[in-house]
Symmetry: C2
Subunit: 360 residues, 2 copies
């Protein structure tokens, strides 16, 4: 298969982890006789430095022409944000989501047996947890009107949802549930928000088309608690943009490190793959960033094109690295000194020689 992949490494640890994902994709191309070409483009703070905008037109063009986008990370730490800045790195990420129409964000939350002890939660709480979060990604309060009054004393953000926005992701989520444990939980705040009541109505209407799927309804506050105390109750979680942002980052505590969480953002015509973690600038260029989230995002890219065997091989490599503790300091004893690159190298070697790398 020929794939033209746009690579947007972004800021902070973005470039380091993305480099490992590219390395892994190159190994896959070699092993399976695919032709993957990689076109790099700037986004976020690095684009602002060079072009004065977080999302240059050139970057949009490269992404639009590509079969898929591999995204790194953007942004400053929350502590360093300047609320008065007119140009912000996040505009790069939000802009590309909108420009490519990436309305459906899929975030798998899987408790790996070899990492159970790394979680803040008790092992018996999390064992066998396997959740797929469907987060709506181009609507809601992220993309509604915003305003700041002239005197600077009043600020507003509007959360709007249209029926079609809810329908398209809801059908995807129901279908995913059908191929899994046939459970779907809608997370909303329908006891307060009009937009949440629309979500509720649409899901209640659609549900009968998927009679084999058991639907549950939770308020976001309650879901934030249930996710921790009874994570195994969840199969597919469907939710709006902001709630999905919160729940998926919270869910990283189940997996043991946010450095493990991958995601796919799908539109009708485009697809982007990115780790859930941010730019984590403090950790940049130290070789300590975990590349697994980016590598697993590459695996989701392979899934997307039906390259199942290829994706499975990448995941096997990841599993093996976890089993053998070839992991960065977020998951390992920091004195082991296993770097970002070393993890990438290990998985690359595994892909080249699945049998030989088996040190077990």
């Amino acid at each position: 298969m020929k794939l033209n992949i746009a690579v947007l490494p972004g800021d902070g640890i973005g470039p380091e982890v993305t480099a490992q994902a590219v390395k892994v994709l190159k190994a896959i191309a070699m092993e399976f006789n695919h032709v993957f070409t990689f076109n790099y483009a700037l986004v976020g703070a690095s684009a602002i430095d060079k072009h004065g905008t977080a999302l240059p037109q050139e970057t949009i063009d490269i992404c639009t022409k590509a079969d898929a986008v591999l995204f790194g990370a953007i942004g400053k730490t929350a502590f360093d944000l300047d609320p008065d800045a007119k140009i912000r790195p996040e505009q790069g990420l939000l802009g590309i989501r909108k420009a490519l129409g990436l309305h459906t964000n899929i975030r798998p939350i899987i408790a790996y047996d070899d990492l159970l002890s790394k979680s803040s939660l008790k092992v018996r709480q999390i064992k066998d947890t396997n959740i797929l979060i469907y987060r709506e990604l181009t609507g809601g309060i992220y993309f509604g009107d915003r305003s700041l009054s002239e005197d600077g004393n009043t600020a507003s953000d509007v959360c709007t949802y249209h029926r079609f926005e809810i329908e398209r992701i809801a059908h995807q989520a129901f279908k995913a549930a059908q191929s899994r444990k046939r459970k779907l939980a809608l997370v909303d705040k329908a006891n307060v928000l009009e937009s949440s009541r629309l979500w509720r109505r649409v899901v209640l209407e659609i549900a009968p088309q998927y009679p084999d799927v058991k639907v549950n309804y939770l308020y976001i506050d309650n879901a934030a608690m249930e996710l921790i105390i009874r994570p195994r109750q969840f199969d597919v979680i469907l939710t709006e943009n902001m709630f999905g942002d919160i729940l998926s980052e919270e869910a990283s505590v189940i997996v043991g490190s946010i450095g493990l969480l991958a995601s796919a953002s799908l539109g009708d015509e485009h697809a982007m793959f990115e780790p859930i973690h941010g730019a984590y600038t403090k950790a940049a260029n130290k070789g300590i960033a975990n590349p697994i989230a980016s590598i697993l995002s590459a695996a989701m890219l392979l899934d997307h094109f039906g390259l199942d065997e290829e994706a499975a091989l990448v995941r096997e490599g990841v599993d093996k690295s976890l089993k053998l503790h070839i992991t960065t300091p977020d998951l390992n004893n920091k004195y082991d000194n296993i770097s970002t690159t070393k993890v990438g190298d290990f998985i690359e070697d595994f892909i080249n020689n699945p049998d030989e790398t088996n040190l077990n």
Copy 2:
């Protein structure tokens, strides 16, 4: 002291747990020679049944005349919500918050030594956690304009904040931090929301007035993760309405049961005290509801009127009940059969005879 207390038991387990808090307040009045009078009023589903509205004018009047309000719980389960209902139990709670101007909601999150093993989190994660959440309660998306288009296909909610709304709660939170560990964390989504950027600006402006307080800034998604993996980093958390709702219910996992979390809602002229948990209708009238959240809310009521010794005695009674495992099934072996009333009786007895109840 003479106190006129409005009691709004509400729905589900509300009446059962509130009855225990009233019992405890009566014991305190007896022991310390106070005159507490209790005036009951309807709210939520029970008010809808009788008056066709979740917040009858009579209830507002009783609350307005009272020195303080003791609130139980309202609402249906998320599962049972009818998105088309024009009248909903939650309007009672939101309405009373607005009518009394209760803009500052304070939610303590304390990991009790005797309950560490009940948490879903590892004991070493949570030991010594003591957080005070300041949640803005009468602004934001809870009280902004809402709309549903005529064709039912588009729904909107507006999140608006005014500078003065942020300032008044921020000063309270900074003052609280000064009397604690002198740390304040603002939780927002300033990388996306205009309203969050206003929060950020106001807190950056105010912070220099409290030079002894160390301020941190976190995005809500990140905070939802940090709360679980590093809860001890937090002292006072300051946040807007919706984020406070989510974070405080999530934080119940630290404490081991949401049945333990109390809150105070303060305005310029009125004050209300209520458990964080909801009506939990499935558990109603079974004697299994934990009354501690309501009893600790009564302790916060006593705090509010400077009745420090009285509040301390209530908390001692609660501590003792936890130490001796006189607790409802959420915290105990369910075969122990310790009912809601039994827990209330134990704490009442303790207040009457602090020395004799010491079975230790």
